[in-house]
């Protein structure tokens, strides 16, 4: 059984982490929500749960909000991803996450975001409906997504991204295609419209 001591130790570690996770604070978000790293803010008309504390290790450059729970909808507010940085942090050097580059074409910016969503664990992520759209008054790109969870649940998504001062900013909404995506898309449109960059 000695061979399994490390595994048991890791299991205990997980248990400890689970207990500790209960101490992580989930706060309410409503009204003007600034995203300091990206230099933009959004306005929320209703109260969202800010679960950034749960996801900070995986997406250090994102603020993560949810209306109905993280398994049912997620809004990633990503800001200030400069050259050399990633949206999703990889735990292993041998499996790097997609990296932002200064000279990405618009097509490559969309690819970077799409691959980052894949790196979050979503499967068969497909970008659709790529079109120009303003982001806080700046030229941006709007993208819709189709994806699946590992278990095969169909996910709908939409994102608005823009590169400003060499750094990528993006708002990404992901939710099950059944009910939660169509139910919330108008609220997301309002959030997207509310984005403003500081002076």
């Amino acid at each position: 059984m000695n061979k399994f001591v490390p595994a048991l130790r890791a299991g205990l570690l997980l248990a400890c982490l689970s207990v500790l996770s209960a101490c992580v604070s989930i706060t309410a978000a409503k009204g003007t929500v600034p995203l300091a790293a990206g230099g933009y803010s959004i306005a929320l008309e209703q109260t969202w749960s800010d679960v950034t504390a749960l996801y900070g290790a995986q997406t250090p450059k994102a603020r993560v909000l949810t209306l109905d729970g993280v398994l049912l909808d997620r809004l990633y507010l990503i800001g200030g991803v400069g050259p050399g940085a990633s949206i999703v942090r990889s735990p292993l050097k041998e499996r790097p996450s997609p990296v932002m580059r200064a000279d990405l074409s618009l097509t490559e910016q969309v690819e970077f975001l799409t691959d980052s969503i894949s790196a979050l664990g979503y499967k068969r992520v497909e970008s659709t409906g790529v079109r120009p759209q303003t982001f806080g008054g700046a030229d941006g790109v709007r993208v819709d997504y189709r994806a699946q969870t590992a278990e095969g649940l169909e996910i709908g998504g939409t994102a608005l991204l823009a590169v400003r001062a060499g750094k990528l900013n993006a708002m990404v909404f992901l939710a099950p295609q059944e009910y939660y995506y169509p139910q919330n898309i108008e609220k997301i449109e309002a959030v997207f419209r509310s984005a403003t960059f500081g002076k």
Binding site: S90, E94, S127
Partner: protein, 467 residues
């Protein structure tokens, strides 16, 4: 092959072991199932559950033709055990195949991309069948269990392995080759979030084989494939290529490690295993290779599987694979496109020019994906070559008018043509019930763009740039 993976499958294997006698000297009987009150029966239930979950997996390849093809090859090597086997192909960019005790077999796309012939696939499936027929999973569990029953032990092990996977445990446990923890760490080091670590942890915990088991399975796979009429040298060729691909990795840690025939593999392919297979093959020649038939079976999936492979972001290995896939001179539109993609994403000195050259080579062939022209348009746009940008984008749109980024391409086309910039969508709320991917209104009138393009292309300048 080696330690399998196959998620649940592995667990199933353990179950099946119930039927056979202990030390593994005997092969399982055809169609044998564990007695309902045996320790293995619980594992069989786990295996059935895993198979049930696999059917809902987002990564399950739904092509009936591909599944039937792989099943037919598996049946040739499984011989009398064929009726017990159910094959599932998964779109996962790692070298992996496995078979559970209940006959549930997984084959991953990373393996399908790397095998170059039906004979090589047959060897791998024969290897898996060797673990299955010899109940290696059950033997492995028997070897480590102490006070607990096999089923209880497995249950605990699965939980621990899943926990380890979920927290991405460090590599310390990996030193204990053959343990569940090492297998899970192996998974993590290889897959890193690309696949469900907890799910795979379950599988890995039950499919950690000893070096002896791997050697036995190699020999079994060799015999089964040769008996089925396949080329004797297939196994050696495949294992040697895996070693060579490992050496081509971008990452020193991977290059300095050993080739793995499974993401659950804690006993990698070493020279001694290749030598053992070489000895078995001796100077035997002949046998069926089935190269053309194999390529025809995987051809429809080359593009999506290569796209998945690039997401591993080990471009050295991807380029090795792409070179191998293109060595026979087939599918060069697709192959060169993905060579270009790998080079473009790698971004080493000289890669941009090499990527463009690869795209240009790709469009010489009828099977080049439409995106090839869009990528070339990026290069032209960066050079400020508006006419070439427009021509390439128009070709892209002609070939893929409903592409996900068609609206965006039309905007770029208009810009390249000097047409009035398309109106940027003012964030008008879309139809709330329209699913993502619904057609997007095009801001630029296609007819106007077409007319402008025709006019533009009718007046090329000497250097091809826009007047």
């Amino acid at each position: 092959m080696k330690r399998r993976r196959g998620s649940c499958v592995l667990s199933a294997l353990v179950l099946a072991a119930a039927t056979f006698s202990v030390a593994g000297a005997e092969e399982r009987e055809v169609g044998a199932r564990p007695a309902a009150d045996s320790p293995e029966a619980g594992l069989w239930v786990l295996s059935d559950k895993a198979e049930s979950e696999a059917k809902r997996s987002a990564e399950l390849n739904t092509s009936a033709e591909l599944r039937e093809y792989v099943r037919s090859v598996a049946c040739k090597v499984a011989a009398t055990h064929c009726p017990e086997i159910r094959v599932y192909v998964f779109d996962r960019p790692f070298f992996q195949a496995s078979m559970a005790p209940n006959g549930y077999m997984e084959v991953w796309s990373g393996l399908m991309l790397r095998a170059e012939s039906e004979a090589e696939l047959a060897f791998v499936l024969g290897h898996e069948t060797g673990h299955y027929v010899n109940s290696h999973s059950w033997q492995s569990l028997q070897a480590v269990k102490s006070r607990a029953t096999g089923a209880m032990f497995a249950t605990v092990l699965i939980g621990v392995a899943g926990a380890v996977a979920s927290v991405n445990a460090g590599s310390a446990a990996a030193a204990n080759g053959g343990s569940a923890a090492s297998a899970v760490n192996s998974i993590n080091s290889v897959t890193s979030g690309l696949i469900n670590a907890v799910y795979l942890g379950t599988v890995a915990s039950l499919f950690s084989f000893s070096r002896e088991h791997e050697t036995i399975a190699d020999a079994f796979g060799y015999d089964a494939a040769v008996k089925a009429g396949y080329q004797p040298s297939a196994g050696v060729a495949l294992w040697q290529r895996l070693i060579d691909e490992t050496a081509a990795s971008d990452f020193p840690k991977v290059r300095n490690g050993q080739a793995r025939t499974s993401v659950f593999d804690s006993h990698p392919v070493a020279a001694d295993r290749v030598a053992a297979l070489n000895k078995l093959a001796g100077d035997q020649t002949g046998g069926e290779e089935g190269k053309a038939r194999y390529r025809a079976a995987i051809r429809p999936f080359l593009g999506p599987w290569l796209r998945d492979d690039l997401r591993r972001r080990d471009f050295g290995q991807s380029l090795f694979l792409i070179d191998r896939l293109g060595a026979g001179g087939e599918d060069l539109g697709v192959i060169n496109f993905y060579r270009g993609e790998a080079l473009r994403l790698r971004r080493k000195d000289g890669d941009a020019a090499a990527a463009e050259a690869a795209y240009r080579e790709a469009i010489r062939f009828a099977d080049a994906p439409p995106e090839t022209w869009r990528q070339l348009a990026d290069f032209a746009e960066r050079r400020g070559d508006h006419a070439e940008t427009a021509r390439l984008l128009q070709t892209f749109l002609d070939k893929a008018p409903n592409a996900g980024d068609a609206a965006f391409a039309r905007m770029r086309l208009a810009r390249a043509l000097g047409a009035p910039a398309p109106e940027v969508a003012p964030l008008a709320a879309p139809d709330p019930v329209a699913p993502p991917g619904s057609p997007v209104p095009v801001a630029v009138a296609p007819s106007a763009v077409s007319a402008a393009l025709q006019a533009d292309l009718s007046m090329p300048t000497a250097n091809g740039t826009r007047p």
